[in-house]
Amino acid sequence: MSSTAKTITELGAALRDGSTTPRALLDETLAHLERSDKDLNAYLTVTRELAELQADAAAQLLEQHPESASPLCGIPMALKDVLCVDGIETTAASRILRGFKPPYTGTAVQRLFDAGAVCVGKTNCDEFAMGSSTENSAFGPVANPWDIERVPGGSSGGSAATVAAGTVPYSLGSDTGGSIRQPAALTGTVGFKPTYGRVSRYGLIAFASSLDQIGPFTRSVEDCALVYAAIAGHDPLDSTSDPRAVDDPLASLHDGVAGMRLGIPREYLGEGTEPGVRSAVETAFKVLEAQGATLQEVSLPSTDVALSVYYVIAPAECSSNLARYDGVRYGVRVDRPSLTDMYLQTRGAGFGAEVKRRIMLGTYALSSGYYDAYYRQAQKVRTLVSEEFDAVFQQVDAIVCPTSPTVAFTMGSRDDPLSMYMCDVVTLPANLAGVPGISVPCGNVDGLPVGLQVIAPRFADSRVFRVAHAYEQATDWHIARSPFATEAA
């Protein structure tokens, strides 16, 4: 196995004992990226120049302040192309933003850069993060490193695939209805969606502002906690960013699950769950039980209707957020003499089919005569979904369940929008309730990874890591590597 398939912790140790340098690590990473991306299409932009500058700065920092340098210093990483970086093309995988170079860097990204991160590129995703397979990118689909005929999940498919391929030890994605956790499950990586408000959304291209959160993909739960700790915390530039202090997720990481009460929502193992997925997560439940946790069945009765709530609220917010792409201030313009024609033609030519579908759905749900029946009603049922989580967390400390009802599916096999929406049925309720959730590898069905999801109450992010870590350390699934990661570098 090459050094490019290691964890942040392992690479950090290698940087400190002198067995490698940030520049050597970067060269190896870029070489791996170049080879693997011919098959994967995980990257939209490779930021070699930026990475070289950052690697040299990191080397200096490690040499001068080896004790105080962040664990992320000198470690290569990648960013989903919905995260703004000053002067680096950021497209959200949309034709409408082709050539857009943000005039500023988002907060979460800046915090990583300040810690000495080395950014090798911007990753491919579903256009404006809308999708569950990364097939909606305007720049071609991403392949799953475990089987390149299959999707890596989505919308953060490129960020998931590049970690699964062994190119970088971590990446950032965004999760609005499962867009970090579901691709993590489908690629055998660890993916975390923080509590809403924990990570600043400043510099994240908005899809649905009341649901969006930025979070990491990694190869271990410890790494995931490390990256989360680096990006979490209050930011005055995001008015929904929570001012409460963030507790250190590493402090309780090793505390185990003995004495913990874990709930299995019966609705999350419904008839859509593939037998292989069911069997893998049921085995995972036994592992947690053997670690001293008490497992019990719980109920989230509105799970089924939560999908409908989501597909009103997310499109409604998207239709509003995407109104800004009008060919005036940035992005592509289709020139027409009249302003209205320019808007119509620019947006008609610039957006892809799924984005148009959601703008139409959201505009309809917000339009006069339908607002009460759709949008207001969805907001009320959202309250119900949220209250059901509160009630369950009166009975148990955390929820354990599958991340995705299925393993990675074949590209092109879900051409019906509704069947694609079903992919997120067990991830999107966490976004509606604002609670944190992680996906950790828990099995393999015919060569395809399965993910175990852990969900905890709002602001109990550390508990999510603690449960996931206890499970991970008792099993070997996180050590398994995709064919791309086991090939010689």
């Binding site: 809403y196 929904t240 999908l307 119509l344 139409m360 339009s367 049922v381 959202r382 119900l384 949220s386």
Partner: protein, 100 residues
């Protein structure tokens, strides 16, 4: 759930989305199907429920009213498809009513 072609035209105009006839035809079928699925929302009794717009408990977050650094004109115009150094340039605004 029945949707008419006029509904699609109306919503597309509201959203300022220029769509081809073929796209409108396809969207009509797709939206009908999705709205049909979403219709189960109407069966939930929400008479006792308040609306959730966002899950955070923060209200009216304001910053201090003090001047600070902002994006300069040059940076703000850098990505514009058409600009003259101090303004964004757009076509004539008059005579642009959409009949919807």
């Amino acid at each position: 759930m029945t949707l008419s072609r006029d509904d699609v035209d109306h919503v597309a105009a509201l959203a300022r989305l220029g769509l081809s006839d073929e796209e409108k035809g396809r969207l009509l079928g797709e939206l009908e199907k999705i709205l049909g699925h979403i219709a189960r929302l109407q069966q939930v009794d929400t008479s006792m429920l308040a609306e959730t717009a966002q899950v955070g408990d923060l209200v009216n977050v304001m910053r201090a009213d003090e001047p600070g650094p902002t994006l300069g004109t040059e940076a703000a115009l850098r990505n514009a498809p058409a600009a003259d150094g101090s303004h964004f340039i757009v076509g004539a605004i008059q005579g642009n009513e959409l009949d919807s």
